[in-house]
Subunit: 381 residues, 2 copies
């Protein structure tokens, strides 16, 4: 096991009707930036519920956060906070809204261009406090210190992390997921599963608790997938999905293990260039990337399908990768090829690998993947 530090101060309030705890969780904050996406929280009644619960508190609304939240839209949020002197950000939405809240929280305290945060040029020393009401189980953003922001003008999608932007609280009510679309549910399942893969499918560090926790989260997702997709919704299936997704990326399950965020690294570029949903990009990239690195990842991928999919006698890494691929394709039900989204894989390979070449970025647990490897991987997507 490798040395590690683990710290996660977010208070999770989980279960039926837990939205009612919101006023207590906001404490003495009286002027709040209310951040959300588009119409969905108005359609499912959450918007009205929040207004009702906040009573006399002053809300400064900042709706319109897009999936893959935009830098430009965050800047407007920062301006609103400065103008109105808000002391707290309430993010009501999925990972995109919460990611935007984190960027705004850190950016509002910065004297320079907040884009510097994403370029790693600005040191974050403070942030406005924030809290989250989660609507879409997927990213784990409700209980972590990470954020991914896109810049429309340059087709860029970059990430940052800071312990100052942990949400102070996260309200998770599985019933809120009842109004999600099939595509959102599918994306959430894939996203959560791939988060675990990135922390698990590397070298064997003899970290038994962490391996078991990763396998548990993946097994839970697999086990509830069919029940998550049915209507009328099944509470326990949604609850297990929601908690599994949060545990999938709150920093705990991967401590002391070697991680490899290559699938996200390549996937972010597909989203930036072609507008693919984040989870779609992951489902497309992971199998190709795993095949490209199959010798390196063999041991853990075989361990995965033995313990997660019950393939006790599996000893063939190709069969292991196929099993994971078939989970995405046949059980979750997402399309697995770039061509199915109208994207030419050779063009994507060219554009994305060129960007890695320009940036000089290498991917993989030991930086073993260069831009040529990215080209080969995307060519087969």
């Amino acid at each position: 096991m490798q040395n590690f530090t683990f710290y996660n101060p977010t208070q999770v309030v989980f279960g039926k009707d837990t939205i009612s705890k919101l006023p207590r969780l906001l404490g003495t904050h009286q002027k709040i930036l209310f951040l959300y996406g588009h119409e969905s929280i108005k359609k499912n009644g959450l918007y009205q519920k929040v207004l009702e619960l906040l009573g006399d508190r002053e809300l400064v609304e900042h709706g319109g956060v897009d999936p893959n939240p935009k830098y430009e839209h965050c800047l407007v949020g920062i301006e609103k906070i400065r103008k109105e002197n808000c002391t707290f950000i309430l993010a009501v939405g999925g990972g995109s809204v919460i990611d935007a809240a984190k960027f705004i929280a850190a950016g509002v305290k910065l004297a320079t261009d907040p884009w510097d945060i994403l370029l790693g040029k600005a040191k974050i020393n403070e942030a406005l406090p924030l809290g989250a009401v989660l609507t879409l189980p997927a990213t784990g953003s409700e209980m972590n210190a990470n954020s991914v922001i896109s810049r429309a003008s340059s087709d860029e999608k970059l990430a940052f992390a800071s312990s100052y932007v942990f949400p102070q609280f996260a309200i998770l009510d599985p019933q809120i997921t009842y109004s999600l679309s099939m595509r959102q549910l599918q994306n959430g399942l894939v996203d959560a599963f791939v988060h675990v893969l990135e922390q698990y499918a590397t070298t064997n560090e003899q970290a038994l608790v962490q391996d078991g926790f990763c396998e548990t989260v993946m097994k839970t997702l697999v086990q509830v997938t069919a029940d998550v997709k049915v209507n009328p919704p099944i509470y326990d299936a949604r609850a297990n999905f929601m908690w599994a997704a949060t545990m999938g990326l709150n920093g705990l399950i991967g401590v002391g293990a070697v991680q490899d965020w290559s699938t996200h690294g390549v996937g972010h570029e597909l989203t930036a260039f072609y507008g693919l949903d984040h989870a779609q990009s992951l489902a497309i990239v992971f199998p190709a990337l795993a095949r490209f690195q199959k010798e390196r990842k063999k041991e853990k991928l075989i361990q995965l399908v033995r313990n997660v999919f019950g393939m006790k006698d599996c000893s063939d890494v190709d069969a292991a990768i196929e099993r994971i691929e078939s989970y995405f394709r046949d059980e979750v039900g997402v399309k697995m090829k770039l061509s199915q989204y109208g994207v030419d894989s050779l063009e994507a390979a060219d554009r994305v690998s060129e960007r890695f070449k320009q940036r000089g970025t290498r991917l993989g647990e030991e930086g073993s993947l260069d831009y040529k490897a990215v080209y080969e991987i995307l060519r087969s997507c």
Copy 2:
């Protein structure tokens, strides 16, 4: 899954030579109550290391914390803090030292008798900050808000919990365990395992992540038991043991599940009356208690041995309980009967059940165990 709240702000710093992080973790605190047990940290060099690392900071020493830390000794610690104006408590030791630190931290802020905390009569609104350097993997106290304190004058052992007493940090270096005795290692293995049992062996709440996490922790303990007991020590075995014990009782694995702390409830009385080690009392009580409640706990106990001990075809609760018992007896190597510790089981049944009768305490996940049940359980120990 039941509704739950999860909050745990302790920063864990885990791994080889992490003691070196101590000065940074103490931040600006300059006057520190240095709490420890007896000679062991002087023998293994940790005492000297702490003195060296703290440099110019002023240390007020308060050694002599016993296993099952004493109220009377804690009062002396409270007086020292008040007299010397310490602003931080550094606990270097196992669960007893850390539990004592928590009681002192809360007690020092109280105007009334700190024993009121344990009687549930005093509301805790603040506490002195504390940090821990863990020497013995077992109780999880390094990363939770719980504390158990004994009062010598009345043979009582009582617990409290408060979010104000989470350690700010916990330094966990598996190498520190190298100087532990066989008995301490055995106790730690049993203690950690039973913590998980108390959160798991109840009703089936369809909490898939939590069940899998519990099974992972127990499986890890079982898997490393033999390697933890050998000399020279094996780093990875100690590391997995240490992290499993912390995860066993930091509040996470049992969220949203029905818990039953009966084994601890009865075991605490055996320690208070007869001075048994905490873990010895747990190993003695659990099998008897499980047999007494075997119909109620059948489903989870069978699930446990299937998933933790690989008894895939087990469908017999007696066989399941026997398997758990044999883990304690044959693999960990602890004595499982009161008579082996020179205690008469009938006398113990009389004394302990009488106390439950006087207090009117009921045990079990639905309060189904009264003093008569406690009598029957102890009679068979």
